[in-house]
């Protein structure tokens, strides 16, 4: 009896968390004439909504923009963040403690609180509607988390390793690149996953700084698409489904790393 209850509960949880995806799928498969309930699957197969959504929302271009922005952002987050964490973890001078505190405390600054001045600043440096300005902003707001994770991880790597490398003739920077960085792979995968998700899904910055359609990312393209075609719910659902497909596929194929990277990031921190 208890086992039956457990498995019943398990199935319930499973279904509960699949509901949103099922609904989207059900809506996207229906023609505009079909007004049957969202709970019922379509009784026919048609891909018109997907094709139309792909073209009308310009998802191809948006995905490309998203990929470029995410790739550059993650690259710089890892590079700048890991480099900054190294002296902060290894050389605990008074100055470095203060620098570390300043950098990491930015973690609790909600990005939108400085929206007004940031927007003005980006306009002033001619960064509006450019991918590079977007990368700069996204990198900056992910840096505190990244530095925090790397710093905690580096502290678990014995300092004797650095000493041995220096005795063998490595400079401190070579030590970092050749010895430490390869050892930081678990932290790097945490950072790539945590920051990658947020950068890929960003909407709050993109909506302000990427207003021209040529630089739209998936979230922005979709939000315009949804408000334009909100009466054709099947079409809109197909667009949403296509929009969340890339990240879902990446997640399902790398889920082992996602869960591990996340729990390590959260618990070590």
């Amino acid at each position: 009896m208890k086992t039956v209850f457990r498995y019943g509960l398990a199935v319930f949880i499973f279904l509960l968390f699949l509901i949103p995806f099922y609904m989207l799928f059900s809506l996207a498969g229906k023609t505009p004439m079909d007004t049957s309930s969202m709970w019922l699957p379509p009784r026919y197969i048609q891909f018109d909504n997907y094709l139309a959504a792909w073209n009308k929302a310009h998802l191809g271009r948006a995905l490309l923009n998203n990929a470029v922005i995410t790739a550059f952002s993650v690259f710089f987050i890892v590079g700048v963040g890991a480099a900054a964490a190294y002296p902060l973890a290894r050389k605990k001078t008074r100055r470095n403690r203060i620098v570390g505190m300043v950098l990491i405390s930015c973690l609790i600054v909600p990005p939108l609180t400085i929206l007004v001045p940031l927007y003005k600043f980006i306009v002033d440096i001619h960064g509006l509607n450019t991918r590079w300005a977007m990368v700069c902003i996204l990198v900056t707001f992910q840096l505190p988390l990244c530095i925090y994770l790397y710093k905690n991880f580096i502290q678990t790597v014995p300092a004797e390793l650095d000493e041995a490398a220096v005795i063998d003739g490595c400079g401190p920077k070579t030590t970092f690149l050749r010895i430490l960085l390869p050892l930081l792979k678990p932290a790097t995968s945490s950072v790539v996953i945590l920051c990658g998700i947020q950068v890929w899904n960003d909407y709050q910055f993109s909506v302000f700084f990427l207003q021209r359609s040529e630089v739209h990312t998936v979230a922005i393209a979709l939000s315009q698409f949804v408000s334009q075609f909100q009466n054709d719910i099947g079409l809109v659902s197909a667009g949403c489904l296509l929009g969340l497909l890339p990240m879902t596929l990446v997640y399902l194929s790398l889920q082992k790393y996602f869960v591990k990277g996340l729990s390590e990031g959260a618990v070590k921190g």
């Binding site: 398990a10 003005k120 949403c240 997640y251």
Partner: protein
């Protein structure tokens, strides 16, 4: 003894490695922040080159602005409501999925799936779900003989629904953190408790929860910060409406700046939000620090 003296040469010149990070944070966070403080003391409309300094008037106006008071309350509900829901359900899910159950890693994967999805799209999905006409929720209401409900009307209900949507999306984070915490609790505590005759509920209350305090701490801080800066879901569902009823500080700032063209006021609101979040996280951190336990 020699280690301390050798440190400078071992790590000589590495301090420069944090310069790029410091420059970026300085340019894109601190510099705008200082400019924001200046803008918040003006009546700047967001685009014209001329504006006047009006001192603290923007800040004083906030205290008598009903929209602001309502928005602050909404933001607190988004933040604290999500925190309670995520922590409680995350804990229950972790407890359930830590036990003996076939296919539990599969269910974990599914519970975690919403976390990686764009909150904007998640908002749209639930918007379709709760729509007045043809929404899945109202189909159920009619099936059980009740009247259809306008889930996003009336403000308070919209705020609760949005809080629920946000919690649904991020309960997976809490679950993962609690699972990691549960796995770090040694079996011997439970064995000893069983010998002493403690039941399952007692064990959870006296062993599991106290030892999970660091995990609870992490969760609460994370959920409060995430919930208070809620933006995407609100834009996708009610866009702050009806009127200002479900506005959060983030969305209100957006509409003040870009629709109402009141940049000075928007900047002041941003600073208010920063102060509220800093105060709240500070208080929570202090509260949890006094509550961490060490069972030996």
């Amino acid at each position: 003894m020699s280690l301390r003296k050798r440190t400078p040469s071992l790590y000589g010149g590495i301090d420069s490695m944090y310069l790029p990070a410091l420059v970026m944070v300085g340019v894109f966070i601190f510099y705008p922040f200082i400019r924001g403080v200046v803008i918040s003391c003006t009546n700047w409309n967001g685009y014209s080159p001329s504006y006047k300094f009006i001192g603290l008037k923007n800040y004083l106006n906030m205290f008598t602005d009903r929209r602001v008071l309502n928005t602050v309350r909404n933001t607190l509900v988004y933040g604290l409501g999500s925190t309670v829901l995520q922590t409680v359900f995350g804990f229950l899910l972790a407890l359930f999925l830590d036990g003996r159950l076939r296919g539990k890693s599969f269910i974990r994967t599914i519970v975690y799936l919403p976390v990686i999805i764009s909150p904007l799209i998640m908002g749209y999905i639930w918007y379709f779900f709760f729509r007045y006409s043809g929404g899945a929720m109202n189909d159920v209401m009619m099936l059980i003989g009740a009247d259809p409900v306008d889930w996003f009307a009336g403000g308070r209900r919209a705020v609760r629904v949005i809080t629920g949507i946000n919690s649904f999306q991020y309960v997976g984070v809490a679950m993962i953190i609690f699972l990691a915490g549960l796995q770090s609790i040694g079996r011997h505590y439970y064995e000893a408790a069983t010998i002493d005759g403690a039941g399952r509920m007692q064990q959870i209350g006296r062993i599991t929860i106290p030892l999970l305090m660091p995990a609870i701490n992490t969760n609460v801080i994370f959920a409060v910060i995430m919930g208070m800066k809620l933006f995407d879901v609100i834009v996708a569902t009610t866009n702050g409406g009806p009127g200002y009823a479900s506005q959060s500080l983030s969305t209100m700032m957006y509409s003040l700046y870009f629709s109402a063209q009141d940049a000075g006021y928007a900047a002041a609101l941003g600073n208010l939000m920063l102060v509220i979040i800093l105060l709240l996280t500070g208080l929570l951190l202090k509260f949890f620090r006094s509550r961490e336990v060490d069972l030996v």
